[in-house]
Amino acid sequence: MTGLVATTILTASRASGARVLAESLARHHPGVPLVGALVGPPPPGGLPFPAIPAGGLGALVHDDVMAVCCSLKPALLEHLLARGHASVLYLDPDQQLLAPIPDVLERVERHAMVLTPHLVHPYDARRELLVLESGTYNGGFVGVSDRPETRRFLAAWADRARRHPEVAPGRGLNYDQRWLDLAPGHVEDLHVLRDPGVNVGHWRLPVAEPPRLMHFSAFDPERPDRVSRHSDAPPGALAPLLAGYARALRAAGWEHTRALPWR
């Protein structure tokens, strides 16, 4: 029996990001263990945390690596709860902790489920419609604690994510993410974490305060002047942070792992 564990899902090609995440977690929360799930062969040089082979979690057999990784998420959370962890915080491997988040971890431990909305205040219709298409809550951050209603949600989520491993806005699908929109109805003790500095991706820009947990979604270290492939917004105050992340990725072996096969 342990308390909180952090987890992520990666392929060998995402190893550098996962190493940076692990290093940032160890620095700011040395007491929180990280356990990964690895899709495909391990990266040369290994990983600084234990990684569960995805095959052992019943990963989907599919040609789309995003479909495999995304549909694995609910199964991984179920698995870690079943192993006796009281609470689990899933973070995408392109997240980096930039400051301690004890209040966030405390909420993950206290509530049945914690989700972060893409948008914590109104922006404009265009951005809001993109979020409605892709999902209210960002799937790169999911906190769960072992409760019957959490287990019930995860079981259904795992089933649906495996059954519909695709992106089809006209049918209400975006890999695993859109199913999270059902959580407010299914989970009484869902906590919607509206901290503007937690799980900050291109969808939140510009940001008013320094992020504590940054989600470098679709960031290209060869273009550190751009926040994301999905955004032309100037990085502004985030520029040093992007440059720092690009350096950290390279130091963690990005050049050698970026093109590794995932199967």
């Binding site: 909305p117 209210t136 006209g170 699908l173």
Partner: protein
Amino acid sequence: MPAAACTIVDKRQLAHARVTARSFARHNPGVPFFTGLADRVDGAYDPAAEPFATIELAELGLPAGAAMPFRLADDELAYATTPYLIEHLLDRGYDRVLFFKRESLVTGSHAPSLALLDDASIVLTPHLLEPLAGEESGRELDVLLAGTYNVGFLGIAESPAARAMLRWWQERLREHCRHDVMHGLHFEQRWVDLVPGMFDGVRVTRDPGASIGHWSLPERRVEVAGEEVRVDGRPCRLVRFSGYDLDHPEAATRYDDRLALADAGGDAALLFHRYRELVLAEGHVGTRTLPYAFAAFDNGVPVPAVARALHAALGPRAAAFGDPFATAGPSFWSWLIGADEELGGVTRLWASVVRSRPDVSAAYAGADGLDLRGLGGWAENTGRAEHAIPDGFPLAAA
């Protein structure tokens, strides 16, 4: 601290509003009930004789520049009016407002809804309260397209957060209140998915008694004993009949052809039949054919969807035409029937239709431009019906 309740209809659903108002009053005496009319009275009925206070659209302060009664079709206008009516009631000094979308039967005291508003700014009711057993994902996917919350019920308490939410929702619905699920839109409803993330004090109630409807009937245990309705053993205070067609009383809703009342479970069928009888008893046969004020230009020609879309596409430039329903002098009407700049000889309205149909453009493309005779034949034999263009719009520009 005064509370108020409200609904929104156009004249053709007056009987529905009467049922909602009377059923609300029966279980919630002393709380005033208002009906927002997404329409004009135009002497078609006597508002003073109704079991509710009528609030006409003109009182709600819809932004004139947005020309909402013209640009939005009937149902869209009624849905888009929701945040305007709620804010209007806050402005009148009611500090808690309960909104019931049309096709609602109140079956109990809403004291629990009002109590939730003691420490919440906005109360929402999700469509689904648990994963569906044996679900082949059809109904859950329907909810993902339609919205997490059913806005057949909304509770709003006077607060900065509620005001901010209402203003935001008003602004979005001016231009984006249509069914376009490919792009994340389901009329007014899907926008509300964003509300718990963006505004303070949102309370999601999972009390099954807060609202039931076709989307959740197979999961809920509905019991009816005389006036008393219970769901899963708890008092039920609202039953929604969204999409229930009084002419097809055995189908629960036109939105789900798989759900027959016989399969809905428990006593749900009793409620649907009771609701139908109540609406008919309130004179629906007479009121359903009352003229909708925004259906036609002032010359009597019905407004086709393509004309609404063209006005919206003009954006602020459309304001120069003034009243979009007017047909005298230089008007939006005269612009519609004027010659299109590219497809000379064809009116702008028909040119827009032709441009939306590459197959038609290709079929009648001649060496010297469009074959107008051939196109005219298509328009009269096929195009007019396919695009619901009224006879008042000729293909050829004068």
